[in-house]
Assembly symmetry: C2
Homo-oligomer: 215 residues x 2
DNA sequence: CCGAATCCGCAGTGATACTG
DNA sequence: CAGTATCACTGCGGATTCGG
């Protein structure tokens, strides 16, 4: 497993040697959101060949970015997790994602949207300044997709799955055939094409927290 | 020139489709620092095949990231520049570079250091908070390498070449056989292994501006 | 079913030579 | 200076197969 090098003593070159191979950063993105199993990753990365995924996982493990854990008795399977170094990639991933979002046109036919990608976009657009001191929790539902956004004293916890406990506001969106992409979800919320379980003001708070460019 | 796609409607996936190919982000990095000609780029990217460089430049041009300009009469040559969209990649490049720098070990034999890579590292470590309201200018010299860092009311202009006008402090470092990498330069400055032309306090200011993690 | 390994065809890459 | 041409090679995409 010889790694191709760039011949430069440079942070960016080093980063690209470690996570610049095809699919690598998308694997890390999915693991940034939550630990996943091999088949979860396959499902969330449409079109990745199985040999490429297993090669990437080994390279990322060797680079100290990913950890392979054999889960104990009850669920018994292989779970991939990020190491501390892997989680430190998140700011870079969010920055790249923000730039790429400005270059996104209409969804191409066949494109999919995964919970991981929407989670990443929400994290990337979270407005830390506007959230200072705030505490509130939301649950977003759109067809299969369920996300939670919990803000505790300004610090966000954004990810797939329902909000723990009782969310302050549950927003149910009907994307009506459209992809449940970040843009479509926010659009529907702005237009009020949603069902709310909770105080309506919290919808405006949510939109305020996630529409401006994050930090 | 068909582009391979990732099948996801996602900012990160889009970014990787546009600048994820091998060498692409290093080309953008060099152009972030200053416009360059084809042979300048070849020189700053050791080992890049000429056909790969020309392919990348065409792809980046088609993506609206790079502009190819035929310079007029006097110098008459081809100059590559970043578009506005290209310059907007800088935060992502700096973030990736910061992460990669944490993964940099000792320089491998044969590794080189270019003015572009040192410039990028200085920009990445610039501490905007500590610079608020400050105005000062430095020129750093180490063998062939000459860099300027001009801070005007807290806003940095960092790049290769001498400082315009009269810099407040000129720092001459003798890396003595070592690579003139960011780490070696800063190390020499901290130890006082430098010659100064200007007030000594400004050396401490410089170290304070560039040692902490930037924003 | 999960977690891969294996094989094959091909496109992207690397190295070098060459040209307007 | 600014690329193009050629060719060997390797990594990737796609499919199938295999062991726990």
């Amino acid at each position: 497993m010889k790694r191709r090098e760039f011949g430069q003593h440079c942070g960016l070159a080093r980063a690209l040697e470690l996570v610049g191979e095809r699919w690598a950063l998308l694997v890390v993105r999915d693991l940034t959101v939550r630990p996943r199993r091999y088949t979860d990753l396959l499902e969330g990365l449409p079109g990745i060949p199985t040999n490429v995924l297993s090669t990437r996982l080994k390279e990322l493990e060797q680079a100290g970015i990913v950890e392979r854990q054999v889960a104990p008795a009850p669920q018994r399977g292989v779970v991939y997790t990020l190491t501390a170094a892997g989680h430190e990639l998140e700011p870079a991933i969010l920055a790249l994602g923000r730039w790429g979002a400005t270059q996104l046109g209409e969804p191409r036919p066949g494109d999919i949207v995964t919970p991981e990608s929407v989670t990443m976009t929400l994290r990337a657009t979270f407005n830390h300044g506007a959230a200072a001191g705030l505490t509130a929790s939301w649950e977003i539902r759109a067809a299969d997709l369920v996300l939670h956004a919990v803000v505790t004293d300004g610090k966000p916890d954004i990810g797939p799955g329902p909000a723990p406990g009782d969310p302050d506001l549950v927003v149910t969106v009907d994307p009506a055939g459209e992809l449940p992409s970040y843009e479509n979800l926010m659009q529907a919320m702005k237009c009020g094409l949603v069902q709310l379980a909770g105080p309506r003001e919290l919808l405006d708070t949510f939109l305020h927290l996630f529409t401006a460019q994050g930090a």
